[in-house]
């Protein structure tokens, strides 16, 4: 088991190298001149432009730029963005906000998705089940920015239950609405996944045997149906944590959250390769770790799976 975890960690090294190389190349290939973004409409003198190029290694060939970036990463110096701020500081600033948002969204989708999915699955074909299925289908099919603006307008502006936008502190109550919007689509998927899984397990032979043993219905449902149904759901949730961290661009835009998504969006527009690559690399590492966590959780949920 320990050997397995160690090997999974060692796998992160090639993933890190490959991801950064690919990302660096993609940003490098973006059309447009990065210095133009710094200098703005007025433009800079050729001398200033040249010094900017030298400062950000833009005068070097691609390989050199990449290797210099790697050297920076290994010496814990990610450099600065074009505005002169330390990239490490930016990451330290925006990641906690996004992480808070993502975890809140994850808890929302997990709790509500599993509970609704369980009851829908146990009442297959009944009115509750049909309603929930239709609603979840609507949630999946309507684009997230439509739902986002709609909920912002209804709960933030009309009913004024909460602020329509998030301030710099990003407190729990402020993040509640964005978190629900962010988790809404995954909530629908978790619900449907749980429902299908519950229906399948409820007809399993061992559930009938558990009933025949004289167990009460609530015990049969929680111990024998729910736990077995959690295996595919856990896989989905773990993979979703990574997606929520990186995929909050639209939601953060709507609610003006100063998080990873917003920062990344601005960096891409400015062609700031080191910022983009650094943030995305952190996201990739989070994704890999979340997957490792899922695999370990998977083995815990299903004892037939053993890693060696």
């Amino acid at each position: 088991m320990a050997g397995y975890v160690l090997r999974r960690f060692l796998q992160l090294i090639p993933v890190f190298l490959g991801a950064t190389l690919l990302l660096y190349f993609l940003v490098f290939s973006l059309p447009g001149d990065a210095t133009a973004a710094i200098c703005g409409e007025k433009g800079c003198t050729p001398a200033v432009e040249a010094s900017l190029r030298a400062q950000y290694n833009l005068d070097q060939p691609f390989w050199m730029q990449y290797l210099l970036y790697l050297k920076g990463v290994l010496t814990f110096d990610l450099g600065t963005n074009f505005a002169g701020r330390e990239i490490a500081t930016i990451i330290a600033e925006v990641f906690p906000t996004t992480a808070k948002l993502a975890v809140m969204a994850l808890v929302f989708e997990a709790v509500f998705g599993i509970v609704f999915g369980l009851f829908a699955g146990l009442r297959k074909g009944k009115i509750f089940d049909s309603t929930v299925l239709v609603v979840s289908l609507v949630v999946i099919s309507v684009p997230i920015f439509v739902l986002g603006f709609l909920m912002q307008f209804v709960f933030g502006v009309k009913l004024a239950w909460t602020n329509p936008t998030v301030s710099g502190d990003a407190s729990f109550t402020e993040l509640l609405l964005p978190a629900i919007v962010l988790g809404l689509v995954s909530f629908a998927y978790v619900l449907r996944l749980t429902r299908t899984s519950v229906i399948e397990n409820a007809n399993a032979d061992y559930v009938r045997t558990a009933t025949a043993k004289g167990l009460s219905r609530p015990r049969v449902v929680t111990v024998h149906i729910l736990r077995n149904s959690m295996i595919p759901v856990a896989t989905f949730l773990g993979a979703d944590l990574g997606a929520l961290m990186g995929g909050a661009i639209v939601t953060e835009g709507i609610f003006n959250v100063n998080g990873v998504g917003n920062t990344l969006y601005r960096a891409v527009l400015n062609g700031e390769a080191p910022v983009v690559v650094s943030i995305v690399t952190v996201l990739i590492l989070i994704f890999c770790l979340a997957n490792l966590l899922v695999d370990l959780l998977y083995a815990w949920l299903d004892p037939r799976i053993r890693y060696a």
């Binding site: 009938r208 045997t209 043993k213 004289g214 004892p303 060696a308």
Partner: protein, 569 residues
């Protein structure tokens, strides 16, 4: 339980009163095509401590009847008439609460398939513990170990900490028996408790179940499709057919003097009983058992179509940290199949018999040894020659549900080998398929249907037709009839025998069922742990087994201990 306590089955002035009584029970299933009656007018009485068997083929309603007694009908099924009386109390429409009270503590259940009836994510001990706890019994680790060891599970205390997937089928069934009997129910419903197990394991488990229920005075409702097993284990037998009880009475009476035509058919075709019939016939001097069963044509035992010499197969098992251990699945096996005859390889699961079949088919590489087909060693053939060899040796597999492609209709399934081997044009191929369907007694109208529209027996006929499409010389049947009901099994065995005499086929028959061997094989090889421990003609092996293992296998055939009057044959 082997002694017949007739006094118990006749109520004398209300004493003793029946433990379970089903009166005119009717069960209906709601389906998309309206209500379907599954059971009609089922009558059944079980006295305390008595064993009653319900016998019937799949779909006869035997399991449904038993499950109704414990309130475990599927969601779309319901009791639509009659009553269920347990210990004087009418529980036909009892509340959920009352039924939960009865389950486990008053009525226990041992389900059919040990592989699917234990929850894979919980330890065995946990699954025993929750049973004891739910029924208000002490549930310390000691109690759990006690319950498990009673059911014959060795090292129960350690075993309780293992998960179901770490158990063999037989051990799982012991665990399920432990659970079923853990709360000392007065009635145990045993639904085909051993049909998924090898005969020797089956015997051990049934013996153990007998002993336990005897000691505890538990009444047993045994559900089985095997009449021989029912007769051996039960005081009373109830025969069900198409949802109705067609006959019931003391076990031996039903066996020796069946009244209903269906029961008669069942008695005739039960393989375990057929073997006894042959012995009975022999003892009367009727040596020619060929008359009883379809025979191979005479005078064709000229040469060996297949000769297997010193065949071995070693599998590498992956161990911890990349270390691998060798596992010898097949160890120095030699036998031959004379042309036009049937050789059977018998053994329990894990004996290596299927690996032998796979190697003879060329699906698995032999580690050592030779397989001579018409004198040519097939282990050294190149791909092209192998392709031609495949044409002459064809398999029929166990699972008629799994071995036909559900997306191919019957015509395409049977035609495919012809097309692959580039035989004929589309017209002549269609003609051939029609002939083949005719040979296996299926109507030509079957061609456009899909496997899911066919019964198990029909599918196995399709599998046989597919195997015969290329006019093979050898057909390898890997448990070809094991998944079928006895009646269908008898039909398929007869078909195979007919085809053999018609086409001069040679069969290699892989099976765990000795009763089937007796009906079809000329030569028998008994395998144990990868080795052939005994070999000889079928009659020699059956009449005069040399090895302890063979004797144990023979003794394990259900119904072997029955004394059957010869006139039954």
């Amino acid at each position: 339980m082997s002694t017949h306590s007739m006094d118990q089955s006749q109520p004398l002035n209300g004493l003793p009163k029946p433990l379970l009584e089903l009166r005119d029970l009717a069960i209906t299933f709601k389906t998309n095509n309206g209500d379907v009656p599954a059971v009609r007018n089922a009558h059944l009485t079980i006295m305390p401590g008595e064993t009653v068997a319900i016998v019937g083929e799949s779909g006869s309603g035997k399991s449904t009847t038993a499950l109704a007694a414990i309130g475990l009908l599927p969601a779309n099924g319901a009791v639509s008439g009659g009553s269920i009386i347990f210990d004087g109390e009418d529980i036909t429409h009892a509340s959920e609460k009352r039924i939960v009270e009865l389950r486990g503590s008053s009525i226990g259940m041992v389900p059919q398939d040990p592989m699917s009836n234990l929850n894979p994510v919980w330890k065995i001990g946990f699954q025993v513990k929750e049973t004891l706890k739910a029924n208000g019994l002490p549930h310390t680790a000691k109690d759990i170990a006690q319950v498990l060891s009673e059911a014959g599970l060795p090292d129960a205390a350690e075993r309780a900490n293992q998960y179901p997937h770490e158990f063999s089928g037989g051990m799982r069934q012991r665990a399920l028996i432990a659970i079923g009997l853990s709360c000392r129910p007065r009635l145990l419903i045993a639904d085909e408790p051993t049909s998924a197990l090898d005969v020797t394991v089956q015997r051990q488990i049934l013996d153990h179940l007998d002993r336990m229920t005897d000691e505890l005075g538990t009444a047993v409702l045994l559900i089985t499709h095997d009449l021989g097993l029912a007769a051996e284990r039960a005081h009373k037998v109830v025969v069900m057919y198409k949802g109705q009880v067609v006959e019931s009475g003391p076990a031996l009476e039903i066996l020796t003097n069946p009244q209903h035509p269906y029961t008669r058919k069942l008695v005739e075709s039960a393989p375990s009983l057929a073997s006894r019939r042959i012995e009975a016939a022999k003892s009367l001097g009727l040596e020619d058992s060929d008359e009883l069963l379809a025979a191979h044509p005479d005078g064709v035992r000229t040469e060996n179509v297949i000769e297997v010499k010193h065949l071995s197969k070693v599998f590498k098992l992956r161990g911890a940290l990349g270390k691998s251990t060798d596992f010898k699945a097949v160890d120095d096996v030699s036998f031959s199949i004379p042309r036009g005859t049937t050789t059977a390889v018998v053994g329990e699961s894990g004996s290596g018999k299927s690996t032998v079949a796979r190697m003879v088919l060329g699906l698995e590489k032999a580690t050592e040894g030779q397989i001579l087909f018409d004198g040519v060693d097939i282990t050294t053939l190149d791909r092209r020659k192998m392709f031609n060899f495949r044409r002459r040796v064809q398999p029929i597999f166990q699972d008629p549900y799994g071995s036909l492609d559900p997306m191919y209709n019957i015509f395409r399934t049977i035609e495919e080998p012809l097309r692959v081997h580039g035989i004929g044009n589309s017209k002549s191929r269609e003609k051939k398929v029609r002939e083949l369907l005719d040979q296996v007694s299926l109507p030509a109208s079957m061609m456009r249907r899909y496997p899911n529209e066919l019964s198990g027996g029909q599918r196995q006929r399709v599998a046989i037709a597919r195997a015969l499409a290329l006019d093979p010389e050898v057909v390898i049947c890997d448990e070809a009839v094991s998944a079928l009901d006895v009646l269908v099994q008898a039909q398929i065995l007869n078909l195979l025998a007919d085809l053999q005499s018609e086409l001069g086929l040679s069969y290699l028959f892989i099976t765990h069922d000795l009763a089937v061997v007796r009906q079809i094989a000329d030569e028998v090889c008994v395998m144990q742990k990868g080795r052939i421990v005994e070999t000889g003609s079928t009659d020699d092996v059956f009449d005069n087994p040399q090895q302890e293992y063979t004797k144990a296998l023979l003794a394990a055939i259900p119904g072997a201990g029955l004394v059957l009057p010869p006139e039954v044959a």
